[in-house]
Symmetry: D2
Subunit: 345 residues, 4 copies
């Protein structure tokens, strides 16, 4: 059994990692850390885990941590990740980092949108953990930069079209809507029930930090160098992202041909479900699962294609994708621990 | 006191009309109709109205109706409106029609998106009831085509920019999200609580009937002839629409100058609130009110402007706007019955 | 115009007071205070109030405050109220206190459930502000203890039965469910959207501080001295309380006779709606209004009566009732500012 | 592999059965039926099941069905179940019936609350499928009457206390709150999103058909013959039941002793989690799982005990418990297919 630890287990990504890992057939969860809840059982912090995870939250240094496991999930804020990950790698461990710290390859871009990068020496070996794009690199890596939730939904929706060159990358507009778990579990007025329920709004318009991450992958897939529009919104639901993406088609093209592009790229992908014509994805149909559901519509009146992509933001957008990456890194079946069907209603 | 009737009082628009009208200082609500609930008090159908509206739902022909009131709100499905409205006009009554039947000036467009138009003789005199654009025409009209909810939010958000010619109309993309009351009160599996709650999806992608209505007004304001992209989504909330609208700026332009365009057009508009820079509207801040809140952001990286516009879909998007139109038609203060502040939370 | 101030305007009770008062025909809102938001407009804190309330939040001592208004709403936490109210009274002002500090007549009971009482000298003149029970006393008082939200719903539901002696007070069990606004607007993990949404739980079981307040009024109405069971629960809604109250009937009694008891006591009460037989109240039908809806059912199998009582916890359970009290104290029509119908959906 | 069929797969219980069964290690789901959706894939009816269940909905007679599987889940309305089950038993099949038709042992009671019983010949062999009470009988039965959702939560919460005789059965009051999935998936105005969201109400007060089922088991456990009070309420959530149950203690008793009674009965029960003192269950911590979480509080002021019991109404309250019963009937590990942790948030 591979020994696994979760660093930063008291957020929504942490509890979801624990939920998935506690039933994973090939690993043993040995350690969970939380400064805030040090000394408490994880089941006390998250009563859904009572009788499923019996670990006590600890507060350990990277050095102390390294003996506890073979592979670490770092589910801590960016900046904190840069402080922890280098030590773990030095100790010969595998790391899947769920922060943004190792996602941006160009350090000047990272420093423009985030802050100074203090672990540049290991940045080059980080692999962007989107298995549908980087499966082979992930298998042989020891440091995975687990993608952001919004980028996962947008990039998977666009990849086949960008590779085939059928859309104009310059024209891409991604209008994304996320459940509130994406805002984290810290006590803030803005995410109180009464502030979010029965409401809807955009936030960080033309200013969200996932923008350069999305552009990095779009430009690589489309062999271009564009800026795109990305607008995040806050949904009054706990889990789920739906991205509605608009792009100008470079030519008249039939629906069937677009469908073929998706099928060719994704037919063998367990976690991608390309929907039939005139079916559109909904967050409630991927809830609790690692699926990404994709639908599209060509609008001949405007020459645009509208792509819709739905994921559960804390599964395929965070914890589930991290476990998928772990499976690849460790040689387990890629779907191990992730076969559960979405729950509806 | 002007006598007023609601034809089709058992839908969400009907109950909202009754809620507003029961406290209106200048009118008397004399009649409410409902085939389905004939013989029941409106308070039995909608217990929120107990002790506020004591009328019994009736099932009357247009001829029988005409003696009951001076002004009629027809809150019935399209097609049905065409059957009722001509008689009421012939009898010398004022009509505010909340269906789509008199919104589209070009009958061929109407017939392409809806069905055969059977009341073309009165179409020409119908005024599109968006007071911020057609105030004077409304005052002297006897037939108002009350705008659709989505078009209201999108057109108000775009009007100052289109008039000033600072955006390229061809580039307009409107990504709109509506509360579930917009889907009506008929018993359907698709709008059951368990199908909608904790979820989110797009619907009628590149195919929604509000598209030609939006285009009609955009083309008039922008003196152009374009098709736009419009994608409606279903929010797990009861009330509220947020439209996020994207357009290419024709030139580099400063935020302050755009703000000026909004202020010039809307400074004297009671029901429009242009938000300060970097404030974005939210549906929960217009809930239950006739306000339209508008915010925007220029993205210099892409040359696009993002406009956000929030309304309560059954107030400014339906019943409230209808009462605003009535006030104009009858010479009442435009805000009569509509001064209530939005309720939050 | 009577000048009115809200002390503590940045909570959910404060914003609701401002929403109601900004349209009140007989008062002028002159001052709003908030330590946390000092210097900000109230519309910035609560964007629903933009263009409706143009005041800036101030941070003033009780002495500074007293010149600002004739009547004060103190919407501050208990303990803080005791520090402010005596000064305001000394300055000759009227006060409606929305905290618990002046609700409990027996100081030893107060000190057992809350803390030391430091304003005992004015406790005796405080009137419990439930107009349906204490209308005359309220009219001539200068200090109103505005009732708690749960007590309002439970006491109004039980009063006619207790007065008539048809139930055994000892047997009373009140199972109450409240929307999350009742938990206030402070940043806490427990009331984050993701913790509350799509969930339900009891809290402070057999330990909630509203218990002695409920018992005080029950014992007075029933001329008895009992302890009752009261269990609060947290609903995933913003507004609304439903209390389901169980009591043993002292005798076989017919539904019509019970209905008569309610009608006799409440027929002339504008804000009480006794529902017809086999109709039960729902929070969604009192939303945003000052109504208390009451229904009941006799269960001959068990000899119990089940009473259900619904209010909007921040209207009839807080701000609305406070305004009703102000109207009585100032000689305004009791319903002034409170005639709006509940909004549904 | 045991072959299994779901009769009535298009309701919320049906889709949940399919969700659980599609990953069950010891069975093969061979057939799903639905009159309404005949000819459609189950994934089309419930897109969460795309790629997980590839069956097409069929419309088959009991005779046609019997060759399809070894064990049948009948997830049809009561009355319909009586028409189907006898044939399946005659054909030598095992049946787990999720309707009410075989839950009530006394046919006169059944006929009083439901309708005429037309399959009395097999009623006697039906075992009430609550494994924590009837495990051995279930193992050897061929017909299981799967318990109702409310009864499951109430009976499991009360069983240890009734067996030990520490409460007065006559005094039991069960105030239960259920998510809307319990109301089924048929198109009805009353369960539309806008009617349920942001609201709360009681329904079928003192008249719900689960009452005799609850009493049957209470009377058996307590060796008594009482009527109890049971009030169901509708929560604005999809999944989850919380029952708050009140009972008079027969004697002064310490919390630790009550805790012991629960631990003795439930310590070896995988699916029961007795919470530590002063912890109370919440529906959001059992969501998607087969757990029943139980907490309690003694109130020395009233001599009552308050018991709270939370389940997911469509898992432990329906589909999950049915699979648990199947596991027992077929000799599989009792937890097979049901080990998934609850998901939160």
């Amino acid at each position: 059994m591979t020994k696994v630890a979760i660093i930063g287990a008291s957020g929504y990504t942490g509890v979801e990692l624990a939920r998935i890992l506690c039933n994973h057939p090939h690993i043993s969860l040995t350690t969970v850390t939380s400064r805030q809840h040090e000394g408490q059982t994880l089941g006390r912090v998250f009563p859904n885990l009572i009788k499923k995870v019996d670990l006590v939250c600890e507060n350990l240094s990277p050095e102390q941590l390294s003996s506890r496991a073979d592979l670490f999930f770092t589910a801590v804020p960016h900046k904190t990740a840069m402080d922890i990950v280098p030590t773990l790698l030095t100790e010969g461990k595998k790391v899947i980092d769920l922060s943004a710290d190792f996602r941006i390859r160009d350090v000047t871009v990272y420093e423009k949108w985030y802050q100074k990068h203090t672990a540049q020496q290991i940045l080059a070996e980080a692999v962007y953990g989107l298995p549908e794009l980087y499966r082979e690199e992930i298998k042989s890596s020891r440091l995975i930069a687990n993608p952001g939730c919004y980028p996962t939904s947008i990039i998977l929706g666009l990849a086949p079209l960008l590779k085939a060159g059928v859309i104009d990358p310059q024209s891409i507009i991604a209008d994304s809507k996320s459940g509130t778990s994406g805002a984290g579990r810290s006590a803030q007025v803005g995410t109180l029930f009464c502030e979010v329920a029965d409401g809807f709004r955009a936030y960080k318009v033309a200013a969200h930090r996932h923008t350069p991450e999305i552009e990095q992958e779009i430009n690589r897939l489309g062999r271009c160098n564009v800026n795109i529009s990305f607008t995040p919104h806050l949904l009054p639901i706990s889990r789920g992202i739906l991205s509605t993406v608009y792009a100008q088609l470079t030519d008249r093209i039939e629906t069937a041909k677009i469908k073929n592009l998706y099928d060719e790229m994704y037919n063998d992908e367990y976690f991608i479900r390309v929907l039939p014509e005139d079916s559109f994805p909904a967050t409630q149909y991927v809830r609790g699962s690692n699926y990404c559901d994709i639908g599209f519509k060509i609008d001949p009146r405007t020459g645009r294609i509208i792509i819709m992509s739905a994921i559960d933001n804390i599964v395929k957008g965070a914890a589930g994708q991290a476990v998928q990456n772990m499976n690849l890194m460790c040689g387990f079946p890629e779907t191990a621990g992730l076969e559960g069907a979405p729950f509806f209603p």
